[in-house]
Amino acid sequence: MTAAGTNDTIDRPISQLFSEFADAIYTLGYRIVGDRHLAEDVVQETFIKVINALPTYRSEGPIGAWVYRIGYREAITITRRRREDPIDPTTYAVISVESGASVERDVLNLELVERLDAAMGQLSAPVRAAFTLRDIQGLSTAEVAVVLEVTESAVKMRLARAREALRVQLREYLQ
């Protein structure tokens, strides 16, 4: 079992896939488009495509990687539609204040969450995607390469760029 799921999941009902990957696609969508309502759209559009394509899906690896790939494409499509790449960090921070008011977010961590969002908003969408999939969601570098349809070397370069930029931006939290 990997973060992207197992190979033998083709017979799983759509409700199980939705239950298993909705949060992950929402996280990926939010980290790429920087807007929680648009991230909800990413989830919805992703699973519409999953439902439509599932009957002809041919297992060539973890089904999660396939779901992530659809989610990534949807998020990029929405990002292009908005023509906001990179995200305005100020906008990103405002979104975080809203998110921080929800039960999932500890109010005491609001400032930190804002800083994390703002720092990530400085990165390009492909770099944010690589960092989200590898470092937040725990996919392997090989799995991230499959999802993003790039080489593992390209993933490593994006990860190095993301980690170094975030390290510089967040140094006060890393002591």
């Binding site: 980290r31 980690r163 140094r171 890393l174």
Partner: protein, 76 residues
């Protein structure tokens, strides 16, 4: 193999991913044992991942989850 700080910096992505070769890993460990600057950089890079793992995951709000599930015809 003796590494410089620049050598180590180019190896850090693989080091962090655990995809480094055994020989390179022992050389990196040897360098880190005596270099405070590189150790600090490595700790900070690991700290970035830790911060986002702990605080960067989002949860689809229940109202959105229910609305989307309903629109997709998904029932538990």
């Amino acid at each position: 193999m003796t590494l410089s700080c620049d050598d180590l910096e180019t190896m850090l992505p693989e080091f962090l991913d655990g995809s480094i070769s055994e020989g390179q890993e022992s050389a990196a460990a040897e360098h880190l044992a005596t270099c405070e600057a590189c150790t600090a950089e490595l700790n900070e890079l690991e700290g970035v991942t830790k911060l986002y793992r702990e605080h960067g995951t989002m949860h689809l709000p229940d109202d959105a989850r229910n609305r989307i599930a309903e629109s997709l015809g998904i029932t538990d």
